[in-house]
């Protein structure tokens, strides 16, 4: 699904390529940011900053190091974490409970046309607590395998295999 040609064009400074990359990744990145900062407006701001960074720093993306999606994920998670560590966010969010992606999805009624709403809803219904924790830490919060293993008191190999099983379930639901 990764469009290498498109990324190359982006790196050359092609604005049309940037627009297509935005259309392709912005919603999922917005979901990541929102699941960290829990504020629509703040998440919007961060999303815009993230894509400005993508435009400006696209040359520093190297496919030998990883996926383009992963590169963007890291930018988005770092920007979001910087925000929640800032004073203004701490003051704002003091009394709010920290929702994870599951809470967000359970409370959500409208999904955009791009997402398989039915598949996602089904997936959330059957999601095991361990999957919920693994996906939240590894995907949404950007923990490393080692950090996740420590957090969940689980061997490194178990993090890898259990997470694989969790994602396989998601893929099954989405295919149906």
């Amino acid at each position: 699904m990764q469009q290498d040609g498109l990324i190359l064009e982006l790196q050359k400074g092609n604005q049309r390529a940037f627009e297509r990359i935005y259309e392709f990744y912005s919603e999922s990145i917005y979901g990541i940011i929102y699941s960290i900062v829990h504020d629509e407006k703040v998440a919007e701001e961060i999303l815009q900053d993230v894509f400005l960074k993508i435009w400006e720093n696209s040359a520093s993306y190297n496919s030998d190091k990883g996926r383009f999606f992963t590169w963007i994920l890291n930018i988005a998670r770092n920007a979001s974490i910087d925000q929640i560590r800032s004073k203004s966010h701490k003051n704002k969010q003091k009394n709010l409970k920290a929702d994870n992606f599951v809470d967000i999805l359970e409370n959500k009624s409208h999904f955009s046309a791009k997402t398989d709403a039915i598949g996602i809803k089904k997936y959330i219904d059957i999601l095991k607590p361990v999957c919920k924790k693994l996906i939240d830490l590894l995907f949404f919060k950007g923990f490393t395998q080692k950090e996740t293993a420590e957090e969940l008191e689980m061997p490194l190999g178990t993090v890898k295999t259990k997470n694989r099983a969790c994602i396989n379930k998601l893929r099954e639901m989405l295919v149906e």
Partner: protein, 264 residues
């Protein structure tokens, strides 16, 4: 490499998350480029994860693209402006400053020069005005003299040189109606320092001298014509050399010129 085993190990999911170490990620990237099956698996995982996180987005943020593009345009403009400004504007700025500075020096120089010129012009103008005024005065005097000469009421009395100065000579033009006496003293010698000519109106029987005035500033008066008041019934005029400021009565041994008024 057992691709099946590699895929099912779960390393590819961690790869997409970015949860692996840099070294592990590089190895997966390499494997992915070598094996299309691995690449396909990674793309499927990525797609599923994108669906999941997209579902967590409050709404589809496509609408934000235009504002991001505006920001991009602003940044590009700023970037271009910064570049061009530092290059051109600063150079132009320095150049302009230098030109201005040079210009100022020239202006200061010019200004001083102009001021000097103005001052000398002012002085010249003042001199010329004075000359014009003098010329006007002279012309006026000349006109007056002409009028005097032509006036039928004016008597012309010639004063001859006396013992002290036989070469001396003077003429009195006397207008009896206006009681004015014009003394033409052109042929009197320069009075010595500290001395002044004094003009006397004389009655002859008995000899009674009456001073009618001094020939002041004799040396500086160019045409040597002096205008004096004379309301006397003069029978003769005499000019004596007196100490500065004049005397009560004439010093007779210093009588330079003397002449009698012709009987009517």
């Amino acid at each position: 490499m057992d691709i099946e085993e590699y895929i099912s190990s779960g390393i590819l999911e961690l790869y997409v998350y970015g949860a692996l170490t840099e070294e592990e990620s590089r190895e997966v990237s390499k494997a992915l480029k070598e094996h299309p099956e691995i690449r396909k698996e990674v793309e499927e995982i990525e797609h599923a994860l994108q669906q999941l996180s997209s579902a967590a987005a409050p709404y589809n943020p496509d609408v934000l693209l235009s504002s991001i593009k505006e920001k991009l345009a602003d940044k590009d403009v700023i970037r271009i402006e910064r570049k061009s400004k530092t290059k051109w504007v600063s150079y132009i700025g320095w150049a302009a400053s230098i030109v201005l500075l040079i210009g100022l020096f020239f202006l200061i120089g010019d200004n001083n020069e102009l001021r000097e010129q103005l001052n000398s012009e002012k002085a010249r103008t003042a001199r010329m005005e004075q000359q014009i005024a003098d010329a006007r005065d002279d012309a006026e005097k000349t006109r007056e003299l002409l009028a005097v000469l032509r006036d039928k009421d004016v008597s012309r009395i010639q004063l001859q040189g006396q013992n002290v100065a036989p070469e001396a000579y003077a003429t009195v033009y006397w207008n009896k109606n206006e009681n004015k006496a014009y003394i033409d003293a052109k042929d009197l010698p320069e009075p010595p320092r500290g001395k002044v000519y004094q003009v006397w109106s004389l009655k002859l029987e008995p000899l009674t001298p009456t001073s009618i005035g001094l020939l002041d500033e004799f040396s500086s008066d160019e045409n040597k014509i002096f205008t004096l008041e004379n309301a006397n019934q003069s029978e003769a005029f005499g000019i004596t050399l007196e100490p500065e400021g004049g005397s009560e009565s004439p010093t007779m041994d210093q009588l330079y010129v003397l002449g009698a008024v012709a009987a009517p």
